[in-house]
């Protein structure tokens, strides 16, 4: 019986006889695997990117906004527009176990002016809990404290983008700015956070004491003095998120005296579930791309089958001779099968390297994280080997069942 290493050796020898042809035959698989690897790497990169930016909103976070959700949109009725109050915030913090902080926020907009430069930015009136809820830190200077937030001292903390635009020289702490003609002092600058999942610049923000924004900036569109536009609820543990979401919903329904069966006048967004949705979308997208590239892998396999069939015809005499000299049909089957597998596996390995290079090039260009999972690399190699088995089987079978007498007679 032939030794396995001799069988492998003879398969590789036949491929080396015609290196150009072997390379061109493998090219289909090379392109197929390269595109599958590049596409899945890009998909995984996109997923990582989304996850990162969703995580940057804050971890273990529930965001509660006024207005009911029905299907895709938020439905406002006059009474639901200002449905959330400071008392609601306090009740959530006090009555629901597992809540680390419940931070109120009043959103507003306004023209920020400093040293003759204008900048239009998002303005939020908050308390110091806001930073805890959103996992945010102070880059320089300080945050206003609880007392200042309640009293409404005219001081502000700027996001990095606002600083970049208003104080290009960098030093913003201690400077004076004006919002809607009122004077404020900058006491701190927020650490840089980057883009959100939807592409918004999270650093384009100004935060000020809640009472200040209520009294002097948000105006009549901000509602009564005790209404809030957003409540950020941070739980102590990620596992509590779903339970706290349910309890917050129940508590607020009870506080707002909503009848059973009636619609909520608020919406609780769970960042974990939003992240899940995004993950599903990007994953589906990745699979789609991989499937499309997979088609080229099949085309590569057909290329291998075609050349293997030609090779069997060309080498009919050799096959007959090998059989006369003692090769069993199984040996011939194995030799041609191995040749096909060697072609497709080599194609797979080369394609893997190319795929990673392509993914690396693209991610470097669009500043994505490069994610090549060992699992997808392994799968690509196994699939390309399987392509060899699948498309090499028929030519190998044809070779194996050649009649040695007929084969030797052939010119």
């Amino acid at each position: 019986m032939i030794r396995p290493q001799d069988l492998i050796d003879s398969a590789f020898r036949s491929l080396r006889i015609n290196p150009m042809r072997s390379f061109l035959t493998a090219l289909g698989v090379i392109i197929g695997v390269a595109s599958v690897i590049a596409m899945t790497a890009l998909g995984a990169g996109a997923q990582e990117q989304t996850q990162n930016s969703i995580r940057s909103l804050g971890s273990n976070l529930l965001i509660i906004v006024p207005g009911a959700t029905r299907g895709q949109g938020v439905v406002f009725t006059p009474s639901s527009f200002f449905s959330l109050t400071l008392d609601d915030v306090e009740a959530i913090a006090k009555e629901i176990p597992g809540v680390q902080v419940a931070a109120p926020s009043q959103r507003a907009g306004g023209q920020i002016v400093a040293e003759g430069t204008n900048w239009n930015s998002r303005i939020e009136g908050v308390t110091p809990d806001y930073l805890i809820a959103r996992d945010w830190t102070i880059g320089s200077g300080r945050m206003f404290d609880d007392r200042e937030a309640r009293q409404g001292k005219p001081i502000v903390v700027l996001g990095q983008t606002v600083v970049d635009n208003l104080f290009p020289n960098g030093n913003a702490v201690g400077q004076k700015i004006r919002i809607n003609n009122g004077p404020y002092e900058v006491v701190g600058v927020l650490g840089k956070k980057g883009q959100s999942a939807t592409g918004n610049d999270q650093d384009d923000i100004l935060i000020a004491p809640f009472a200040v924004v209520k009294r002097r900036i948000s105006g009549r569109f901000g509602g009564r003095a005790d209404t809030v536009s957003t409540i950020y609820v941070k739980t102590e543990r990620a596992e509590d998120l779903d339970r706290v979401q349910e309890e917050v919903t129940n508590l607020l329904r009870q506080r707002h005296k909503i009848q059973p069966g009636a619609m909520d006048d608020f919406t609780v967004q769970n960042l974990a579930s939003i992240a899940d949705t995004f993950k599903q979308v990007t994953q589906t997208f990745t699979w789609l791309l991989a499937a499309i590239s997979g088609v080229s892998l099949v085309v590569g396999g057909i290329g291998i089958m075609n050349i293997m069939l030609v090779s069997v015809t060309e080498r009919t005499r050799e096959i007959g001779l090998r059989k006369a000299l003692g090769a069993r049909s199984a040996d011939v089957l194995n030799q041609f099968g191995l040749e096909a597998i060697a072609l497709s596996s080599a194609g797979g390995a080369i394609g893997l390297v190319f795929g990673i290079l392509i993914a690396w090039g693209i991610t470097a260009l669009i500043k994505f994280p490069l994610v090549v999972s060992p699992a997808s690399a392994l799968v690509a190699l196994l699939v390309s080997a399987a392509v060899g088995v699948l498309f090499g089987a028929y030519p190998a079978w044809r070779a194996a069942r050649l009649d040695p007498i007929e084969a030797l007679r052939r010119e």
């Binding site: 001799d6 006889i17 001779l321 069993r328 007498i405």
Partner: protein, 230 residues
């Protein structure tokens, strides 16, 4: 001496459409160990069919064929391959060397299928090439060798697994007379060393080198002569 090949009522029938062609029509003979026999006859006489049956390349339609104690009809594909590998050494008219392999590698080929380890088969191949007078040509490709040299490589290859029988099909058919005589000389030499040889040929001049000539016509043996020309 014991009979190496025993054929009894051996028949091979081909179907050509509606017609049944009796390529072999009940053949009986024995060939003993150490014999040098020639099977002769015009084309269509059934000599090639007989050679294919003896070589284990084809199966008989009827009758019994026993070679070196093995009954060929009872062998399956894998055993028949092993039989060809170990018992039969083929020599072809057109040499049938693999052009991409060196002379040494061509000689090694049957030993690869016998599972002989590389070092051992390389050593044996070199010895065999030396035996057929090509000791220094081991690294040459078949295309770099003359016809006579190629046939010597083929003979070395046929001997590599120490077969019971050297089976040659018109071994001088592609060679000029002088080279053909040399090759036949090599066969005689090998036969003197104890190798059993069966040559299939249409050429009476070639057959004259054998000790025994089996003449065939229309699928039957018409004459079986022993000569003493050694």
């Amino acid at each position: 001496m014991a009979a190496l090949i025993t054929a009894r009522m051996l028949a091979k029938i081909y179907r050509m459409g509606e017609e049944r062609v009796r390529a072999l029509d009940g053949v009986d003979f024995d060939i003993d160990e150490g014999e040098f026999a020639a099977i002769v006859g015009p084309s269509g006489s059934g000599k090639s069919t007989l050679m294919n049956l003896i070589g284990g390349l084809d199966r008989a339609s009827d009758g019994v064929l026993t070679i070196a104690g093995g009954t060929l009809a009872k062998m399956n594909d894998a055993t028949l391959a092993a039989f060809r590998n170990k018992r039969i050494g083929f020599v072809f008219q057109s040499f049938n060397l693999l052009p991409r392999l060196s002379a040494l590698e061509n000689v090694e080929l049957p030993m690869i299928y016998a599972g002989v380890p590389p070092a051992k088969r390389r050593k044996r191949a070199a010895e065999l090439l030396a035996q057929v007078g090509l000791g220094e040509r081991g690294r040459h490709r078949p295309t770099q060798l003359s016809g006579g040299q190629q046939q010597r490589v083929a003979i070395a290859r046929a001997l590599s697994c120490s077969p019971s029988l050297l089976l040659a099909d018109e071994p001088t058919g592609a060679l000029d007379t002088k080279t053909g005589t040399e090759i036949l000389g090599l066969f005689k030499q090998l036969n003197r060393d104890g190798v059993t040889i069966v040559i299939v040929t249409h050429d009476p001049g070639v057959a004259a080198n054998a000790q025994r000539v089996i003449e065939m016509r229309d699928g039957r043996i018409v004459a079986d002569r022993r000569t003493e020309t050694r």
